[in-house]
Symmetry: C2
DNA sequence: CTCAATTTGTTCGTATGTATG
DNA sequence: ACATACATACGAACAAATTGA
């Protein structure tokens, strides 16, 4: 038995809260229903008439939404029969964010990020709030874009303490910094904290990740301090939100 | 010294990827700059002319964006002087998602969620994928909305195994289920896992949380199994994404 | 096979919103 | 502020394909 539809009657006011075109809003909801398999692959979705009623919009508006999803190969229509979900199922949510030191280092080991020119503007100290740690005087700024199947999915903006960078600069330019740092005997890591929140793509991020302006993103700030509470590694990582998930074992400490 | 502007030249194509009205896209970026304090409270923002150039849009479009933010009391204008960021600073990101059992139970203890009528449609087994655990035959469905300062910020959809619910039904209707469950001597918790991803509000969620359709949300699925690997607690929790953050101590296991 | 019901596809007219110069 | 062009959204009507009685 499939999960039944949850009532959505009389929700007209929700639309008023946004001036985003209606058909885009409707399409977004439908797209999510497909991706979450609420509408399973191959399955027939409700008729245009039913969708009109559910979303409380005109027929043309539903049509425009359906047309969008057709161009994305998520739906196909058969006149006189109905509209169906495509069969091919792309795997999403494949990127699992690490929640501990070991898995974080492991997940980065095989990575070959594409270093890109860092805007000189960013070659300054990262913005640190009190509890993040003291500022190392000088930082090196490294920036890379992560790809999967030729598609960009993440941007790493890393401020690395100059003193650490100088220990083996070539290494730091060739592969992810964190595993290197973990193996440096001179460096004593005292704390490593990660803070995650949801944001929207600004023009620069949108361009690098090839997504629309304002598309939701997942922002990770990872800060590592050394024995003297100096922040030696400050990474701001931005992912497309649609490929990320976080799995947490709530009992790992027991 | 403030963090300098990162180059945003020649990013026109980012706009093409979205059919969201330009002024909304521009407003979204500006709103984020204010919220992240990239534009600090009280500070003067660039002139309309500079913004025209940066965003590559017509003057009226920038004006529309500024007007939006003025209505939100995030900006104010002084003719002949410029446009400024408002001084009052609303605290966001106040909700820290728990990443371990103890803090999860603690964070819920004082909570008084508002139970709402559960659509009968949902009174079925939750959708479980293989590794989530076996299905307990019957579940009770409980639904509540969480408020802060009179504003809804989260929806809890909980499937609780009937056998567990029957141990003290009144309790489960009066306060959060998880602390109760933790204190029940009859229940042996074997695993507790949480999976977090980003989604968009469907019509129902948009209505309950008073947000626009498609607004990004944080979805948490929390599954607790008993000694027999039966999923006794399956919670789907949906938060507004703009109040949530996750702090992880990457070294907690060391 | 025909008929009616269903469902997608198309068109018209109108009103409003968006964006430019 | 104005004129212009295009996109969005509605309601309604009609055409075309499919299905089953």
């Amino acid at each position: 038995m499939r999960a039944p539809m949850i009532s959505t009657a009389k929700l007209l006011k929700a639309y008023d809260r946004s001036r985003v075109p209606l058909y885009l809003q409707v399409a977004a909801v439908m797209r999510q229903r497909i991706e979450t398999r609420y509408w399973a692959p191959g399955e027939q979705i409700p008729t245009l008439e039913q969708l009109e009623v559910e979303f409380q919009v005109a027929r043309i508006t539903v049509r425009q939404a359906v047309d969008m999803l057709r161009k994305e190969d998520l739906l196909y229509c058969r006149q006189g029969r109905g509209t169906f979900v495509a069969n091919k199922t792309k795997d999403k949510r494949w990127l699992k964010l690490a929640t501990d030191w070991q898995s974080l280092a492991d997940s980065l080991k095989g990575n070959v990020p594409k270093l890109i020119a860092a805007p000189d503007a960013a070659a300054v100290s990262p913005m640190l709030s009190g509890e993040d740690g003291k500022s190392s005087g000088a930082y090196v700024f490294l920036r890379s874009v992560q790809f999967k199947d030729g598609e960009p999915y993440g941007i790493v903006n890393l401020h690395l303490a100059q003193s650490v960078y100088d220990l083996c600069p070539k290494e730091f330019r060739a592969r992810p910094a964190l595993p290197i740092l973990a193996d440096l005997p001179q460096v004593r890591v005292k704390s490593a904290r990660q803070s995650i929140s949801v944001g929207g793509a600004d023009p620069e991020v949108a361009d690098l990740l090839k997504i629309a302006l304002g598309t939701p993103t997942v922002k990770c700030r990872c800060i590592i301090t050394d024995a003297g509470d100096v922040a030696i590694y400050v990474a701001d990582i931005i992912y497309r939100s649609d490929c990320v998930r976080i799995d947490i074992d709530l009992l790992s400490a027991r």
